[in-house]
């Protein structure tokens, strides 16, 4: 074997990926060739340094991961709905009712004598960047390039760099499980979505509140609809060309 061939195979020798015959030939050459022996020893030292690098996590990462997994597997919705969400559920039902009502009976100047004036009941918030209310909603959104929808709670504000297009996978158990992580009292608003497809997916997510509103409009129109129906969006910066944006507001 010449030195060039040997040097090209030293790595495999270190990795124990050579045949016994080849190993014997290599070791024999190394014993007689100082240059190749030096190369071999350097590679052995490198391997030893790699071994020292292996970080001992001692289960810390696993523990941290499983805390989140269990939190997702057993979300707060396990508590009886009527105990925890009675007030919120009533509010959401009212909002949805008002929304449907205003769709059916649009408020205009000629109907001032309408005893039930939806706008007087609506708390509007036209400032996009208004300060969050004391009881700000939790807003769920999907992440960029998600293979499947992964709703994540964002606290009380949407982060603009987190709103992207998403593609909906075929309905699977995982999708149902994911949708199950959305609180049952949530109002689900679909923006610019292929609503039929999404609705069929949501049908399988039995814990999702059925107040689904499909809005096939652009960004500004969506905001106007949200604001005019007592759904306060604390902050949003949805790109104008957003499609299939999925906003869930509790």
């Amino acid at each position: 074997m010449d030195c060039k061939d040997v040097k090209e195979t030293l790595g495999a020798l270190i990795d124990n990926e050579v045949s016994d015959t080849e190993k014997e030939a290599l070791l024999s050459h190394i014993a007689e060739c100082e240059e190749c022996r030096k190369e071999y020893e350097e590679l052995q030292a490198l391997k030893k340094d790699f071994a020292k690098l292996d970080t001992k996590l001692k289960g810390a990462l696993a523990e941290s991961v499983m805390q989140r997994v269990y939190a997702e597997s057993f979300p707060k919705k396990k508590k009886p709905f009527f105990i925890r969400y009675a007030g919120t559920a009533a509010a959401i039902i009212l909002v949805c009712t008002l929304f449907i009502y205003t769709r059916l009976f649009p408020v205009n100047e000629e109907s001032q004598d309408n005893a039930f004036s939806p706008e007087s009941e609506i708390v509007t918030d036209t400032a996009v960047d208004s300060e969050p209310k004391d009881e700000a909603e939790e807003i769920f959104f999907s992440k960029v390039e998600a293979d499947i929808l992964m709703p994540e709670a964002s606290g009380n504000k949407l982060q603009s760099d987190k709103i992207y297009n998403e593609t909906f996978a075929d309905t699977t158990l995982a999708d149902v499980r994911l949708y199950n992580s959305i609180p049952t009292s949530s109002a689900v608003i679909i923006v610019d979505a292929e609503a039929d497809e999404l609705l069929s997916v949501l049908d399988n997510a039995v814990t999702v509140n059925e107040s689904v509103i499909s809005i096939d409009e652009g960004h500004d129109e969506v905001l106007q609809v949200l604001y005019s129906n007592s759904i306060t969006v604390v902050k949003t910066d949805i790109p104008e060309d957003t499609e299939d944006t999925f906003i869930c507001i509790e």
């Binding site: 990926e17 790699f50 990462l61 696993a62 499983m66 293979d147 996978a169 158990l173 995982a174």
Partner: protein, 192 residues
């Protein structure tokens, strides 16, 4: 790469929502996922966050694991993609697209209580400066003990290609180490 015991059963069970089964998989692959994350992030805390996020993504996407690739390969890809997102976010935060990844390495990390050897620390720094492809093959080979056959399957190339890729990656790593060594010598002489 050694599989988890009863891995197929654990994966099937986890796919049905069994968190305990997933926990067994997490405990087995904890080091692997962390090492992959670390090879990208070159920083203990960032690697920990990336690894955690990768496992959570895996949990959520389990139904989409069909078994065409090995579970470890699937985990690797999720971790690598998560790390790339994190790196992009880091660059955005720093507003600098030419970050020397070697600079990011923290000298004060929990692992320092384990890694006291200076040559190993230099290796960590050098590893962080390699191209992603070179780093990936070295991490899989050196940290996870992937055989050449497993590497060939992971990268979907011939066995001979793996051998030359490893040789090339090691050569580049050793070159980086030599550069770092001469930098350290210059600093040492300047400070004298």
């Amino acid at each position: 790469m050694k599989k988890c015991e009863n891995e197929e059963k654990l994966v099937l069970s986890a796919q049905k929502g069994n968190a305990e089964a997933f926990g067994s998989l997490v405990r087995h692959y904890e080091g692997f996922v962390f090492n992959v994350a670390f090879s990208f992030m070159n920083n203990y805390y960032d690697a920990f966050d990336v690894a955690q996020e990768a496992f959570i993504k895996a949990w959520r996407a389990l139904a989409h694991f069909k078994g065409s690739a090995s579970f470890s390969t699937w985990l690797y890809r999720i971790t690598a993609n998560t790390a790339k997102d994190a790196l992009a976010e880091r660059r955005r935060r720093w507003n600098d697209t030419e970050i020397d990844e070697g600079m990011v390495a923290s000298e004060d990390t929990p692992e320092d209580s384990v890694v006291r050897d200076e040559s190993a620390k230099e290796l960590r720094r050098a590893l962080g400066t390699l191209d992603e492809g070179d780093r990936e093959i070295l991490v899989l080979r050196e940290f996870e003990g992937y055989s050449y056959e497993e590497l060939a399957k992971h990268f979907e190339v011939e066995l001979g290609t793996i051998k030359s890729r490893l040789n090339r990656a090691r050569a580049k790593l050793r070159e980086k180490l030599r550069e770092q060594n001469s930098e350290n010598c210059v600093k040492y002489n300047e400070n004298r």
